[in-house]
Every structure is written in C-alpha cells, then in structure tokens.
Amino acid sequence: MLTYSLKRLAQLFVTVLGVVTLVFFTMRMIPGDPISAMAGDNLSGAALDQMRTQMGLNESLLMQYLTYLGSLAVLDFGNTVTTKLPIIQLILDALPVTVSIAVGTIILTVLISIPLGTLAAYMAHKGHKTLDNAITGVAMVLDLMPSFWTSLVCLLIFSLALGWFPASGTVTIDDPVQLMRRIALPVLVLSMAQIATMARITRTSVLEVLSEDYVRTARSMGWSELRVLFRHALKNAALPIVTVVGLSFGNLLNGTVIVEFIFTLPGIGNLLVGGINSRDYQMVQTLILFYALIFVIINFATDLVYRVFDPRVQF
C-alpha cells in the first residue's frame, strides 16, 4: 500500500510538473508577449521595455521558466496587472465562496441521488419497469441540460417570478445566512447535473449487487427489505459511487465557473472570467494551474480511497 501510494505520488508530481510546464509555455505562445497584449497601444516603446525587464521577459525562455518554477515553489504568484494586488490573496479571498458551492452541491447530490438510484435499482430488480424508466429518463434530460441555461431558467422562476432567492447582492463568508440564500440556486443548478450521473451509477451498481448471493441470504434470514437494501446492498455498492463522486469533481469545477458568472458570486471562477476579459494573463495562468491542481489531487485521493476500501484491488 505504502509503495503504491509513493509510486502514485511520484507520478502525481510528474503530472503536476507537466501541467505547470504546459501552462507556462502556452501562455508564452500568445502573439507578441503578455506585456504588449496587456498594455495595448497606450505605452511607448521605452516604457514597454522597462516593464519587460521588470517582469523578467527579456531573459531567455529557460531562465524565465526556472524563475517561474522557483516562485511557484514559494507560492509567489505575482500581482494582478490592473490593481497590483497579490494574486494569491485574491484567490484565497474568493476560495470560500467556490468551496461552499462545491461542498453544498456534493451534499445535496448525495442526499437526493443515492436514495433515488437505489429506488430505481430496486424497482428494476422487482420488475417494475415504469418507475425505473421514469427515473432513468429524467436523469438523462437533467444530465444534458446546459448548466448556464438551467441557471437562467431557475433565476427566472425562483428569483424573478417567485422572489424566493435574491438574484444579486453582496456575498461574504462572514454572513452565512446571506451566503446560503445566495448560493442556494447555484447549488440546485449544479446538483441537477450531478444527480443524474450519480443516480445512474448508483442504480447500476446496486442493481448488480441485488442479484448477489449474500443479498439473497440476507433476505432468507428474514431481514426487512429496507434493511437488506441499505445495509447489505448499498453498502457493497458504495465503492463505485464514491469513485464517481470523486471523478465528477472536474465537471463540478467546470460548473462553478458558469454559475459564479451568472449569479455574480465572487468565487475563483469569476476571477478567471474577469482575468481573461481584462487580459490579465498572470491571473489566468495561476487560476488554470490552481484548478488543475485541485482536480489532480482530488483524483489522486479518490484512487487511494478506492484502494483502501476495496480489499479486492491488488497492489
């Protein structure tokens, strides 16, 4: 187990280094260089040159790369171009909002999709096709709805028509009630897409387990159906479900960018879109890196969890 973890950790390190390298060189592919792109036509040649020297852009590419790696190692991501604020500070300020949305979505998704998927599997197992088909069909449509469109429809119905949730207003982590009210709709929207995937996986893996011998044994021992379903079947079907929760995290990150933009929530997704619109490449580079790191680490953790809890997996 330990050797495996270390091996995976080494692999993870190589991937992260690759990601950093890719992001660095891609950003250097911008026609011209970041400085002229950022400054537009407003600065003279000499001023541009001074800025280049300041940012080390006159050095060789390899030196720039090494300097970049060095600054990453001490978590120095530089400052934003327009406001000159340290980027890491902006990210840390925005992170709680994004994390609240992500965590809220995972909780809501698990609470709804696992009972729903289990129910669908049970119905399919018992031969009641109609309810199973209905759940599977609704899950498919939810899965395919583009989240930005769903957001607007929810905004239209729940905020504008019914007035249940505020569509705008400041959000701070210090005011949890306001935060909850503001992230309720985004969480609902993101959950819709996640619920579909999760319910489908739950259905498949529970259905598989329901025809196992130990489930029959549990039934023959006279346990109630509910107990058999949740204690025996779901527990053994849980592993693929946990894996899918982990792997669908990438989709969740994609989704947070969209909902933060629509619901004007000050999370890191909004920083990203803002960074692109103001051509702040330093910011974009850092954020893309940041997202990739979160994604890679979650995948790594999922893989380890899977191996810890499934004794059948060989190392």
Partner: protein
Amino acid sequence: MTQEMITLPARRWSDLGTLRQSGLWRLLGNSRIQLAIAILGPILFLTIFRSMLPLPGPLQTNLQAMTQPPSLGHLFGTDRMGRDILSRTLAGVQISMFVGFAVALLALVVGLVMGTLSGFFGGVIDRIMMAITDIFLAFPSLLLAIGLVSVLGTGMIPVVLAISLSDVPRFIRLQRSMVLSLRNRAYIDAARTVKASQVWLMTRHIIPNTIAPLLVAASIAAANAILVEAGLSFLGLGIMPPEPSLGNLIRDGQSYLEQAWWISTLPGVVILMIAIGLHFLSDGIRQVLDPRSRK
C-alpha cells in the same frame, strides 16, 4: 435457439461485411436511432434550408418589432434590436453543428492514429504519449478550453481547437486500451505467422475492431462539444456577436431576463434537444454495432 447460437460467431467474423451490406438498414431499424432522427432531422432540415424559409436574416434588425414575445410572425420572438430569434437560433445551430462535427472528427482521427501507434508499438512512444495525455487530462475540460481560448483568441477555429484538445487525449486512451487488448489475440498471432505486415495488422485486423466504440465516443464528444462551445460563447469567450451562436444568444438575453424571457430560454431548449438527439444517436450506434448488446 440452436440456430442463433450457430449464426452468432459467424456474424461476428463477417461483421464488417454485413455492416457494408445491411449496416444502414440495421441502423435505421434501431428505435433509439429513429428517435434521434425524429429529433435531429427537423432541426437539421430547418437549419440547412433556413435561407428558403420566410424568415428575416439572422442579422437583420427591425426597429418596428423590438423585444416582441413569441407570436405567429416571430415564433421565437425578437430581441431588443428587432432581430428574429428563430432565425438567429437556426444560424446558431449551424455553427453548433459545425463545431460538434469538427471536434468529433478531429478527436476521432487524431485519437485513432496516435492511440493505435501507442498501443501497438508500446515502449518509449507509448510512455511519452501516456505522459502527455496525463497532463491534458489533469484539466477539467471546460477550464482547459477556457485557458486555451484565452491564448488562441476567440472565433470558430480557436474554439474548435480548444475543445478538441481536451477530447483528443480521451480518444487516444480509449483507442490505446482497445488496441492493447486486441494486440495479443490469437487471430492477430495467426496473421503474424503468415507474415502480415505491421501496417496490414493495424489497418485490417485491429482498427476495424475498434471503430464501433470510437464512433460511439465521437457522437458523445459531438454533443459535449456543442455544450462546451455554448458555454464558452455564453461566457463571452467563444463565438463573438454579432455572429449568432446558441451560447451568445443566451448571453444576449441574460440582461433582459425579466422583460423578455424568450431571448434566453428558447435557444436553450434547442441546445437541449440537440444534446438529447445526439445522446440517443450514440446509444443507438452502440446497440447496433456492439454484438454483445444485441438481443
């Protein structure tokens, strides 16, 4: 019963032959594909022949008919400049279809070639290829596309490239894993013993057996590409106005949600229908081409 058991392996051997002869009929006979055609057909038809429809052009403004709700004259209503939303939506569908098709084709071809080489030859090529795909798979797909678009710029070609780059590694992985499992089959060994060349083995014995899953993956990739393009354009990073795409149409209506609900919601319904259609299509192709799921 016994007859079926005899014909099944025979059908497998000549799978490609039957595909050529009756493949189209089998595809058309599948209920999922019929459903897909019923959904996608009318949308495609209207999109292709939209210039012949009695509709104003997608960019044509009409100040006499600003922000009108859906009516018989304007089925999807008009926006704040009096442009017909249905006409703009159809123009957007054309772009979406192009993006979906281009991304699926690009990912399919590149994935097929690189994945086959990687899986067939193994060794250093394989290891380098896997390291590279690992790096690309470390990004959530929309975020990779956002990052690339910020570098490549906005517009059709950058969007297609940006979306493909997140799909290609998945196709390489898929193709590679299939090639790996086929590489050591007995029938490949048999072909080797009669001195079949490497190219012959790959093109005649391996690739034909991997096409079906790749096609299924391609139709899913097309649906996904359409959604990602819409997402990018919605964020203002994809196809730029005034050129209408489904994403920027929805973005357009976002600020007028309260006064004109139809600008954003109706194009979204069309995206959803296209996505559902492509989903059924991929399901149908899978059912027809995969002998195991055949009943």
